[in-house]
């Protein structure tokens, strides 16, 4: 990557805290390309948060330089610099005494935008994060769930449309289920907003899932490896990196492919209100062994098999197993996990509105794994990679 593409450039960045004998961050040089999510990941104490906070100068570097869009910002007014960078922290830090709308409007107000423009921007952002402006802009943070607060935190950071977003463990304080959903939503959002994002986490799985590039940091922010997730998983640069990735690198690679990239299996479906004979006929006509029942909005409801249909006195909508669904943006890792947890061994896939798209089963995941393995092998034998499963953007960077 050439330096002209880099939106943020850190040059020999060093931080020593007063009274400490060692540098907390030691001579870090790093280029963050425009429009990418770069993850800083490392064990605790590796200086990743200190590094992040030096980018918006919440911590002033002891030496070294910071460039933003080619401009040396090491010594410019820090408050003005920060208004050009969205900042999202783990605890989110919404202002509890002002409304959601006013929270989001914080930076635009400081920049002196007109009232009307601010109002429109707030509504636009709330729409973007899937919250109804009418209903939410007048509410207070305490009236929201953890997940909603997190979304508002992101919207607030995006308010003045800064080119850069700095995120410090933004999803760490959220329960695992909500976290996976927020991660997927955020990736979806990023395809629209194309911000340059620096993202700190201690969780390698999150790094693999979220990152276009990952910087694995050793002690004092020394870069152990800086590369795409696929390359890091396939060819860890050192024993430290290998250790940090931990066991199951090939399993983790499942985080790199999304359900949307895999061919879904067509499954027999029927409406929940269909009569038993129709369902039975559908079952007999297919080799799948079960039928997926959908509601009026084509949202998956139940898996029903032949045996379930024997229960004459129950409603069709109460038969069989309740259908768990996966979003199309979810990773194969999520999908496999879901399948192993459910009795069905397959998972219904839905689009953004929750409507049925198809089914992903173990076989589909196995095919994807095989393709990825071949892909990795080919790459490291120096052959041209073919576009297989996995995201095309990542394939490019492999070559």
């Amino acid at each position: 990557m050439s330096s002209s593409q880099a939106l943020i450039r850190l040059e020999s960045l060093t931080k020593r805290f007063p009274g400490q004998r060692e540098n907390a961050v030691d001579n870090l040089t790093l280029e963050i390309p425009a429009g990418e999510i770069v993850i800083l990941v490392g064990p605790s104490g590796s200086g990743k948060t200190t590094t992040l906070r030096m980018i918006n100068r919440l911590i002033e570097p002891t030496s070294g330089r910071i460039f933003l869009e080619g401009e040396d910002v090491t010594a410019v007014n820090a408050d003005r610099l920060r208004r050009r960078m969205g900042y999202v922290i783990q605890q989110i830090g919404l202002f509890p005494h002002v409304t959601i709308g006013d929270n989001i409007a914080t930076v635009p107000k400081m920049l002196g935008w007109e009232k009307k423009r601010i109002r429109e921007r707030v509504a636009e952002l709330l729409e973007l994060i899937g919250m109804d402006p009418e209903a939410y802009s007048g509410r207070y943070p305490k009236e929201l769930s953890g997940g909603q607060r997190q979304r508002v935190g992101v919207a607030r950071a995006l308010a003045a449309d800064p080119p850069v977003l700095l995120m410090d463990e933004p999803f760490s304080a959220i329960d695992p289920i909500t976290r996976a959903r927020l991660q997927n939503e955020f990736l979806q959002l990023q395809t629209k907003i194309r911000k340059t994002i620096v993202f700190v986490t201690h969780d390698i799985d999150e790094a693999i899932k979220m990152g276009d590039r990952i910087a694995i940091l050793d002690d004092r922010s020394h870069i152990a490896q800086f590369d795409t997730p696929a390359t890091i998983l396939a060819a860890p640069a050192s024993a430290f990196v290998e250790d940090f990735i931990g066991a199951g690198a090939s399993l983790k690679r499942l985080n790199l492919a999304r359900i949307a990239d895999v061919e879904l299996v067509p499954w027999p479906t029927e409406h929940v209100s269909a009569d038993r004979d129709t369902v039975r006929a559908a079952l007999l006509a297919s080799d799948k062994g079960s039928v997926l029942l959908l509601d009026e909005k084509r949202r998956p409801q139940r898996w029903v098999n032949m045996l379930d249909l024997e229960h004459e006195h129950d409603q069709l909508s109460e038969l069989g197993l309740s259908a768990q669904v996966m979003q199309r943006q979810a990773t194969l890792y999520d999908a496999l996990n879901e399948m192993l947890n459910s009795l069905q061994g397959a998972s219904a896939v839905v689009d953004e509105d929750g409507a049925y798209c198809g089914v992903i089963d173990i076989d589909a995941v196995a095919v994807a794994i095989r393709a990825m393995r071949q892909e990795a092998r080919r790459t490291f034998r120096g052959e041209d990679p073919v576009t297989a499963v996995g995201e095309p953007t990542r394939e490019e960077s492999l070559s």
Partner: protein, 215 residues
């Protein structure tokens, strides 16, 4: 009892006037104390040791027996409203100061960090974020101070200060006469009523001035 009611009815204009004077000096004292305490709190709250020292100093004012404090004022500022006001301000400082320091220090660090990360400077952070968030605690301090001062202000009459203390001292000086009890009791009742009124006022003020988001 009938006697006392008769007395109250006869003297109601006088008691009302004294109560107004009383309320006035309390309000002045609280206003001055609030300005001093808030300014001091804003200057020191970010430094833990300094905060502790300042709060301790304000605490010592409160330990001086009130009669002695009023008396000490005479050689410095003479007799009348002035010494009463100075002494009341000194008493009112501690609750306001301590609550302001506690309130400002108690603001969630994540909120401050996110404010700073969005490019809010010190002053804007203080005015827009920290003071509004600390406000309920500060207001509670002002409320406690006020109720405290309403009682202490009665002793201001010892230095010829204004207020209901006048009747209390007059009554006490006439112990044994029939009007002594009436004088003292009516003034005490007025003091209690004033304290309750102030308390109700602050409760209403608190509801009006505290954001719905932190109530």
């Amino acid at each position: 009892m009938g006697d006392f009611l008769h007395y109250l009815n006869f003297r109601k204009g006088h008691i009302f006037d004294l109560s107004v004077d009383h309320a006035q000096i309390v309000l002045y004292a609280i206003a001055i104390a609030t300005v001093i305490a808030l300014t001091t709190a804003v200057l020191v709250y970010r430094r833990e040791r300094l905060s502790a020292i300042v709060v301790a100093i304000a605490g010592t004012f409160l330990t001086i027996p009130s009669l002695a404090l009023f008396g000490l004022m005479i050689p410095i500022v003479g007799l009348g409203t002035k010494p009463a006001l100075v002494a009341l301000v000194m008493y009112a400082l501690l609750p306001i100061l301590r609550n302001a320091v506690v309130g400002l220090r108690g603001v969630d660090p994540a909120v401050i960090e996110s404010a700073q990360g969005m490019g809010m400077n010190r002053v804007r952070r203080l005015v827009r974020i920290e003071l509004p968030l600390a406000w309920p605690v500060i207001l509670t301090g002002i409320r406690v101070s006020t109720v405290l001062i309403v009682g202490v202000a009665a002793i201001g009459a010892y230095v010829n200060g204004p207020g209901l203390g006048e009747d209390i001292f007059a009554g006490l000086a006439r112990i044994g006469t029939p009007t002594a009890l009436h004088l003292t009791l009516s003034a005490i009742l007025a003091v209690v009523a004033l304290a309750l009124l102030f308390d109700a006022f602050y409760a209403a003020l608190g509801r009006l001035t505290t954001s719905r988001g932190i109530r």
